[in-house]
């Protein structure tokens, strides 16, 4: 065992040690917020959706916008990890576990929102009994379940060798249940070349498969909206637009979680400033994609200003939703790009600040996209006004706290840095090139040299 590997195991496993005061305090606060959210939902369950700000005209709001937002974050996590793996970017190694964890937990949280949003949660199973393939909601459910399975598998697959390390560590009997847990999860891993080869192959195959799966999931999410005749949703670009926004917010969320975990558990040796800067470059490039997508969307619509588009663009740029719109454009697209562009703000603090801006702005964007389209009058009536009530805000904040809580639990149960992958990088390359680009070619059946 090399010195690096020893330090790595110590550092990474120190995260999982008995919780300190700070940890317990954070978990306590998160539990309290989750409990408050559950109470707010119980009020809604008893009285009906009348306790929300939603009404017949603006019939979706804060719940649906956060559904899109949170699933988007999940999607960004998976995609980033998968893309970096497929392109064999070695710097990915210490951060992919984090990204995959964010993906799975965010997906679980996001999948709750549609059930919270429906008027008859008691009849939710009707979706499986009477489901129609023609409905975008059913596409959505299929997509989310598929993605859930894939991202769970992807996270689990790459944890197997680490589970074996933990199994062996806890073999001494100082924690019986942990030993049993990791033994179960390690599924007989013994570091044999054959296992390594299989893992290399299957993780690469998963990384390749999960990219189109994730893209389709978020496109289908957009289809729920773009299959309607509403101004602002009725657009062919909405699917790609949602996908781009999802990666953008997902990468930003991963930067934030990475920076927090790095700081809290002193993982600076393994997650270096360079990692954050690389992620920052990724974010900066995505901000350009987003700016391009927005120009494509709003220039083509605004130039012609057809019928309802005039109302929609006016309410976005000068009306009720202008604060959300301009915060998104300036604070969420331009400013983060500038922060990453200028060398002396391109440090950990600067990039984290840019990421916070991006996450907030994408939340605002999801909100105004949903509310603005529903606000455009369909018939001669006054446009409605919507604002989330305390119930909606409490439920959403509670679900974010649940996200934090699940992250906290994950940190204590599983190594947040992929020990075996980082160790592999520090060790001299072996004969077995399980992750060389050649493997991608072999899987895809392309002509190897």
């Amino acid at each position: 065992m090399t010195a690096v590997r020893g330090r790595l195991e110590d550092r990474a496993l120190a995260v999982m040690s008995a919780p300190g005061k700070g940890y317990l305090l954070v978990v306590g606060i998160l539990c309290a917020i989750v409990a408050w959210g559950v109470y707010a939902y119980s009020v809604q369950f008893r009285d009906g959706l009348v306790v929300t700000g939603l009404r017949d005209r603006i019939l979706w709001g804060f719940y649906m916008s956060n559904f899109v937002f949170v699933i988007g974050i999940s999607y960004g996590g998976t995609l980033m990890s998968a893309v970096l793996r497929v392109t064999s970017a070695d710097w990915r190694r210490p951060i992919t576990r984090l990204a995959e964890m964010v993906a799975v937990i965010a997906l679980c949280i996001g999948a709750i929102f549609p059930i919270i949003d429906i008027g008859r949660p008691d009849r939710f199973l009707n979706v499986f009994i009477y489901g129609r393939w023609q409905s975008p909601i059913i596409w959505d459910i299929i997509a989310i379940f598929t993605y859930l399975v894939f991202s769970f598998l992807y996270l689990f697959l790459l944890m197997i060798p680490d589970m074996a390390i933990l199994r062996d560590r806890y073999a001494g009997g100082n924690s019986r249940w942990r030993h049993e847990l990791y033994k179960f999860l390690a599924i007989g891993w013994n570091d044999s070349p054959r296992q390594k080869k299989l893992l290399g192959w299957s993780s690469m195959a998963m990384a390749i498969i999960i990219i189109p799966v994730a893209v389709s999931v978020h496109s289908v999410l957009a289809f729920v909206f773009s299959m309607t005749l509403r101004e602002g949703w009725n657009s062919t670009i909405l699917g790609p637009f949602f996908v781009a926004g999802a990666v953008y917010s997902g990468v930003a969320a991963i930067i934030i979680v990475t920076a927090v975990v790095r700081k809290a558990y002193h993982l600076e040796e393994f997650i270096t400033k360079q990692h954050i800067v690389y992620l920052g470059y990724f974010l900066g490039a995505l901000s350009l994609v987003m700016i391009y997508a927005n120009v494509a969307e709003y220039l083509t619509v605004g130039y012609k200003l057809q019928g309802e588009a005039a109302f929609n663009l006016t309410q976005l740029t000068r009306g009720q939703l202008a604060p959300f719109f301009w915060f998104y454009i300036i604070g969420g697209l331009l400013l983060p790009g500038v922060i990453i562009l200028i060398p002396w703000t391109r440090n950990v603090w600067g990039i984290v600040l840019a990421s916070v801006l991006v996450v907030l702005a994408m939340g605002a964007e999801r909100y105004y996209i949903i509310v603005s389209a529903l606000r455009v009058p369909q018939m001669p009536y006054e446009a409605s006004v919507y604002a989330p009530t305390w119930v909606e805000i409490s439920v959403v904040v509670g679900s974010f706290a649940l996200f934090g809580l699940l992250v906290a639990v994950f940190l204590k149960l599983f190594p947040i840095i992929s020990i075996w992958e980082v160790a592999e990088q520090h060790e001299p390359p072996s004969e077995d090139q399980s992750e060389s680009p050649l493997l991608v070619q072999r899987i895809l059946g392309g002509g190897g040299s």
Partner: protein
């Protein structure tokens, strides 16, 4: 080059099949994976048959003309005769009759009288029921087939199946769907009614409702409440198949009436193919002054009976 590579790998793979998985192996694996989801296509059918009953509830047999053709319910609204009930100085009477007949909870106006602007100034009143589209965006998007098209050309909702996701409301381009945001404020006698998608009484919490074009009344030979309620006889109800319609006073040949008066559909450009037709006008046939704006607000007659119930605005 490519071929020889593959052949090599196949030969190498045969003695130890688990070592490498080539292109064929991968394709086989993907094929098995794809096949494994096939049962899901039949799962919902199996569950439905196990639960006994694929059908939504519906009241009667399909209505037929005397010679056996299925009736195609339709409505024509003659805007030349609609003055928003300004002349009788009351809230729109079509809406009022509909609310009383269906115990429609506040604030639902299944037939709502909108006031639209005229190009040359002034306004027109547009009574708007569900347009009963033949290419209904709402039916397309429903995840559980709670809203469905009938052979008679109407669009109905089964409130016993609706999960309240409201995507149909998002899909409707006419703002003609309503949601029960709480326990609906309806009088006690509504609960005595026999519920049916053709007669949505009583309203159910957390589900979507709308005008059903009263096929139960048409079948019984009675004109819908809104037609009966209109003091100016501006609303015609009838059957495209037998080609006949009535406003309670006159009987017209429906297709000829539509054609001769250049009737149109709302938002024709969307291609929803509504069954509700409009004849352009602004109440001129009943002497309405287009510059006299406004109509009386709709009222729910059982306001006193539902005091204390949780109500909501639109």
């Amino acid at each position: 080059m490519n071929d020889s590579n593959n052949r090599d790998s196949r030969q190498a793979a045969q003695p130890q099949p688990s070592r490498t998985i080539g292109r064929r192996g991968l394709l086989r694996l993907l094929g098995v994976g794809a096949l494994s989801i096939a049962p899901f296509a039949f799962a919902s059918t199996a569950i439905r048959s196990a639960l006994g009953g694929n059908q939504t509830r519906s009241m009667g047999e399909v209505a037929r003309t005397p010679d056996g053709r299925i009736r195609q319910w339709a409505m024509v609204i003659d805007l030349r005769y609609c003055d928003g009930c300004q002349s009788v100085d009351r809230p729109p009477q079509c809406t009022a009759a509909c609310i009383e007949g269906h115990f429609a909870p506040e604030p639902m106006e299944w037939i709502e009288v909108y006031e639209g602007d005229l190009p040359g100034g002034g306004s027109q009143f547009i009574p708007t029921p569900c347009q009963q589209c033949q290419n209904p965006p709402c039916v397309n998007v429903c995840p559980v087939a709670a809203t469905f098209s009938t052979p008679e050309g109407t669009v109905l909702i089964d409130q016993d199946r609706c999960i309240g996701c409201r995507i149909c409301m998002a899909a409707c381009p006419y703002d003609r769907r309503f949601f029960n945001w709480a326990d609906p404020p309806v009088p006690p006698e509504a609960h005595l009614a026999h519920y049916d998608p053709e007669h949505q009484v009583p309203a159910r919490k957390g589900t979507v409702m709308k005008c059903d074009l009263c096929p139960d009344m048409g079948r019984a030979g009675v004109l819908p409440y809104c037609v009966q309620g209109c003091p100016n006889h501006a609303v015609y109800y009838g059957d495209l198949e037998e080609d006949i319609a009535s406003n309670g006073k006159n009987v017209v040949s429906l297709s000829r009436f539509i054609a001769q008066n250049q009737a149109y559909n709302l938002k024709e450009d969307l291609g929803t193919k509504p069954r509700v037709y409009y004849i352009a006008g602004h109440g001129e046939a009943v002497g309405r002054d287009v510059f006299k704006k406004g109509r009386m607000p709709t009222r729910w007659p059982w306001e006193r009976l539902v005091e204390g119930a949780r109500k909501w605005k639109r």
